[in-house]
């Protein structure tokens, strides 16, 4: 168990390194002068050169990367060109907004998708279920930014129930959450249905029913208990992906999270800020994945971490 965790942490560090390195190289190859975004308007060539020297942008890329890595070990990801503050600090200020949104979205998803999927499995291949099935297909077929705009047009502009953008009060979280949840509910409920159909037809369920186990227990404790691992895995993966930035939804709703931050940083060629965002979100996403994997033995005592899964 301990070796398993250590191995996974080593993997996490390696993947984070991979992501950081590829972003680093891509950024250096990209056209556009980052010094220009730090400089005052209409800079002279001497000013630009001074800025490049200050941030080490005149060095060869391998040297820049080495400097970056050694500083990283001291917890220093660099100073944001745009905010002129430590990049890590800027990211950390935005992170709570993204986490709040991701948690709200995943909770709503789980609360709707699991009962919906179970209902669909119990009524598999009936007319109402076909309707729900088509509904979930429609749910995963709409562009998320478009769902966001339609919700804004209806609920913010026409009905005036919510502020059209940004973060004013806790009510502002409703529309972005719904936007994210529509797609996720569609995906997760279909997974729940597939798993539950397999378990509902399994012989062990017939045995349990013949022993007089109540229908509620049959469904939730027996069948769903055995469907839980893939469902929790999927929820965990989705949650981790959201931490990587619900970029589009944050842009649509001007939600002050890391996704919105990183899109602006890309446009301003704010290298340190992009690096910091990628690093923080990738590590966070990997930790969520690790936590989900550590839950497996709790859900299914047959699972021994690090043996069969290796």
């Amino acid at each position: 168990m301990l070796t398993y965790i250590l191995k996974r942490i080593a993997q996490t560090i390696f993947t984070a390194f991979l992501a950081t390195a590829s972003v680093f190289v891509l950024l250096r190859l990209a056209p556009g002068d980052p010094a220009a975004s730090y400089a005052p308007p209409n800079p002279t060539a001497a000013q630009l050169a001074a800025i490049r020297r200050q941030f080490g942008l005149d060095q060869p890329i391998p040297v820049q990367f080495w400097t970056f890595l050694t500083r990283l070990l001291h917890g220093d990801v660099g100073t944001s060109f745009f905010f002129k503050r430590p990049a890590l600090q800027v990211v950390m200020e935005r992170l709570p907004y993204t986490i709040t949104l991701a948690v709200a979205a995943i909770l709503v998803t789980a609360l709707v998708a699991i009962p919906l999927g179970v209902w669909m499995a119990r009524n598999a291949n009936t007319a109402p279920e076909l309707g729900a099935n088509v509904g979930t297909i429609a749910g995963q077929s709409m562009p998320d930014f478009w769902i966001g705009f339609v919700l804004l047009i209806v609920f913010a502009v026409n009905l005036g129930w919510f502020a059209p953008a940004g973060f004013d009060s806790m009510a502002s979280i409703v529309l972005p959450t719904v936007t994210i949840a529509i797609l996720q509910i569609a995906l997760i409920s279909r997974l729940v249905r597939r798993e539950m159909v397999a378990n509902l037809n399994a012989p062990y369920l017939t045995v349990a029913r013949s022993r007089g186990v109540s229908e509620r227990r049959l469904i939730w404790s027996h069948a769903f208990g055995n469907s839980a691992i893939p469902v929790v895995t999927a929820l965990g993966t989705r949650f981790a992906a959201m931490l990587n930035g619900v970029v589009i939804v944050e842009v649509v709703f001007k939600w002050p999270g890391v996704g919105e931050l990183v899109v602006n940083a890309l446009q301003q060629r704010d290298f340190p800020l992009i690096q910091a965002t990628v690093l923080v979100t990738v590590v966070l996403a990997l930790l969520v994945q690790l936590a989900v994997d550590l839950l497996y033995p709790l859900m299914d005592p047959r699972v021994r971490l690090g043996e069969a899964s290796a």
Binding site: L26, A138, L266
Partner: protein
């Protein structure tokens, strides 16, 4: 008391009642119903997709106003106006024409992307599944690594780097999509390579490349192609998302995501059609492709069970 007992008894559930309908017949009827539903899905899907694809394919033939140069006298006309079925944008450009011409770009990118990702995915997945060993390890690690990277951000970076040409956007979408066919192909090939016909062709002295290409892949192609078809839906969505974030084919050439992105500041002013109409078109196409793929997948699964 005893006389009323039957009335108080809970009604016997349908499944447990003795009747001439045996469990076997009921299974058959469920299977028949499933088959019917998959046919319904295939037809509804084909119609939804066709409603979008056919006019888009004919966009250059249909008598439409120019999608790039508009008449400023007809600025922001609402839908269902004479001459402009879906209205116009603030530059007086006909929305129907823009949506259909934009659809050509979006569909070409989507089709090219799934061809590339399908070929790469099938080749990589088949090699990993058939050879195993270090080939499998390399492919599987690549798949895992890609899953843990912030994909959309990487795609935005690459488009920013190489410029938003059709080739770059296609490559980027194909890169995002190759894991799906690769994983499916690998799983199917793992099962397939243990079958007797593979051993037989090995005994006959065929080399490994031709066993994979001429014997294994044709046997799994049907199932993989359904997955690739479903990727078309994802490709169209991804392309529109990139366009929306400004990393799509550039103005003035219309794309679906671009039209929505242009309209986003305007719906506050009541010009709702610039956002809603292209979104409905995207959704219609993607629902169509998804339903079609889903129905076909149900059907291939069933024929596999039957055989």
């Amino acid at each position: 008391m005893t006389a009323t007992a039957p009335a108080n008894e809970a009604p016997v559930p349908m499944e447990d009642r003795a009747s001439a309908v045996t469990a076997r017949l009921r299974r058959r009827s469920a299977a028949a119903r499933r088959a019917r539903y998959s046919t319904i899905k295939i037809w509804v899907g084909a119609i939804c997709a066709g409603v979008v694809v056919v006019p888009v394919a004919l966009a250059r033939v249909l008598p439409l106003p120019d999608p790039i140069v508009g008449k400023l006298t007809e600025s922001s006309v609402p839908p269902l106006s004479p001459g402009h079925l879906l209205g116009t944008d603030p530059n007086g450009r006909d929305l129907l024409s823009r949506v259909l011409h934009g659809g050509q770009t979006s569909l070409i990118i989507g089709l090219l992307a799934i061809v590339v990702s399908g070929v790469v995915g099938i080749v990589a997945g088949a090699a990993a599944g058939y050879f195993g060993g270090w080939v499998d390890m390399v492919v599987s690690r690549l798949l895992e690594a890609q899953l843990s990277l912030p994909l959309l951000l990487m795609l935005l970076l690459v488009v920013g780097l190489f410029g938003p040409s059709i080739i770059v956007i296609t490559a980027v979408i194909a890169f995002a999509q190759w894991p799906e066919p690769a994983r499916i192909t690998r799983a199917l090939v793992l099962v397939e390579r243990e079958k007797p016909y593979v051993a037989a062709s090995r005994v006959l002295g065929l080399n490994r490349a031709s066993i994979i290409a001429r014997h294994v892949i044709p046997n799994i192609l049907q199932q993989v192609l359904v997955v690739v078809l479903l990727l078309l839906a994802q490709a169209v969505l991804l392309e529109s998302a990139l366009s929306f974030l400004g990393a799509g084919v550039q103005r003035p050439y219309p794309t679906w995501g671009g039209i929505i992105s242009d309209g986003r500041e305007l719906f506050v002013l009541g010009k709702w059609w610039l956002v809603t109409v292209p979104g409905i078109v995207i959704a219609l196409l993607v629902v169509g492709v998804n339903l079609l793929g889903d129905g076909l997948r149900d059907r291939t699964r069933r024929s596999k069970v039957a055989s």
